[in-house]
Amino acid sequence: MKYNWNWGIFWQPAADGSGTWLHYLLVGVVWTLATALAAWVIALAVGSVIGVMRTTPNRWAVRFGNGYVELFRNVPLLVQMFLWFFVLPEVVPQALGDWIKQMPPPWSAYFPAVLCLGFYTAARVAEQVRAGIQSLPRGQMMAATAVGFTLAQAYRHVVLPQAYRIILPPLTSEFLNIIKNSSVALTIGLLELTARARSMQEFTFQVFEAFTAATILYLLLNIVIVFGMRWVEKRLAVPGLIAVGGAPQAGH
């Protein structure tokens, strides 16, 4: 068994001439974060709307919300990525499709990746939002209605402020998921962290150095986010409520 270790590789110039290999990987971190953050905005917005819809008294809104969640949860993320990247430009009106296809890289991969991850994670956020709202005592909504709030006001001033604070921990893990899931975008050509580690391996043959560096960078991202969110959770915890752990869930 022989493998030529060469940790100095990170200080050698990268194949694309932009700097060292270390710099090349760090740019990958930036792309990973840029993708995850943009997708997170979509996921939170869409996920909140869908999650709230599933708790309203309107039967059709509930059905639509349930349908959305089932649709996005039961198709693999990679397949969804291909649908956004390969299929969407073909099925929209031709002018729009052509415009999408003429987008220059890296945006041609970035936007489909953000949309895909956003709408995919929205289904998972919707699950959490619904669970958070339903974990509140029914009396909260009843009391809000009793003092004359409309349904929208009750959600805005009574239900949602509590629900969001309760589901902060699961939302943190969804955000960690979106960072990990952004690596799937390498299949459509987005040069994020995993893709850059892979391409560094292809150019330098230093397989284990490249993947070790990527692993450490992902671990660092995780640690920073977990500790940051723990601080936020402590500040926003609802006084008097026992920390909600919740039942174990399957997921990634």
């Binding site: 039961n74 693999p76 299929v87 690596s183 995993t194 580690a197």
Partner: protein, 232 residues
């Protein structure tokens, strides 16, 4: 929109898609689930062990696996397994490991971390008195675990374990990054050969959806059947 839709390409490639692709996907899912649950349960027992070193090692492994993307893990094992093979077999050159074996090992090792967390919750949900009762009857650790704790933990956690397996089934599509012919890989090959991306990828999405939806429906029914009335 669907005017130029070519149904024929799907029909023509059905035998290839299912016989080659889906067989690979399902075999990989089944094997990774089987070995993953075994390894995951062992990891859970290690994590809960009073022996500090064991629980530290298992905890570090699980946290590491859960913090990196599956795609990166797939790449790791694809390159690592040949070297580990050479080390085990005492050879000088990396051992050639087929794509199938490599992906079974990858998904077993990766999913075990997730199964571990589920089994840990399952074991912890068993009242302590059960373990003491086991010891009081003179059973040793393995007998108590095997005959008293684990059967109940499995039963309680069955719905979550199965839901995790549905996720595993969807995740196996990521072997695409190694150009392996699983269900998606097969469809992708046909799509690129015939220039029929729209048809093939939509078809793949529909098939995955139907299978996953049906399986989660079964899990929901199972959950309702085994639920303790009045609880939750």
């Amino acid at each position: 929109m669907l005017a130029g839709f070519d149904w024929d390409v799907i029909q023509r490639s059905l035998p290839y898609l299912f016989k080659e692709g889906m067989t690979f996907t399902l075999t990989l899912t089944a094997l990774a689930m089987f070995f993953g649950i075994i390894f995951g349960t062992l990891l859970a027992m290690m994590r809960l062990s009073s022996f500090k070193a064991l629980s530290l090692v298992a905890g570090a492994y699980v946290n590491l696996m859960r913090s990196v993307p599956l795609v990166l893990v797939i790449f790791w094992f694809y390159f690592l397994v040949p070297y580990i093979g050479a080390w085990i077999l005492q050879q000088n050159e990396p051992v050639k490991v087929g794509a199938f074996l490599s992906s079974v090992i990858t998904f077993t090792m990766f999913e075990a971390a997730y199964y571990c967390e589920i089994m840990r919750a399952g074991i912890q949900s068993i009242p302590r008195g059960q373990v003491w009762a086991g010891y009081a009857l003179g059973l040793n650790y393995w007998q108590t675990m095997g005959n008293v704790v684990l059967p109940q933990a499995f039963r309680n956690m069955m719905p979550v374990l199965l839901t995790q397996t549905i996720i595993l089934f969807q995740d196996t599509s990521l072997v695409y990054v190694l150009s392996i012919t699983d269900f998606l890989g097969a469809a992708s090959k046909v799509a690129q050969r015939d220039g029929r991306l729209v048809e093939m990828y939509l078809f793949v999405a529909v098939v995955y959806f139907i299978i996953s939806y049906f399986l989660s429906y079964l899990v929901k029914r199972l959950q309702a059947r085994i639920a303790v009335p009045g609880k939750l």
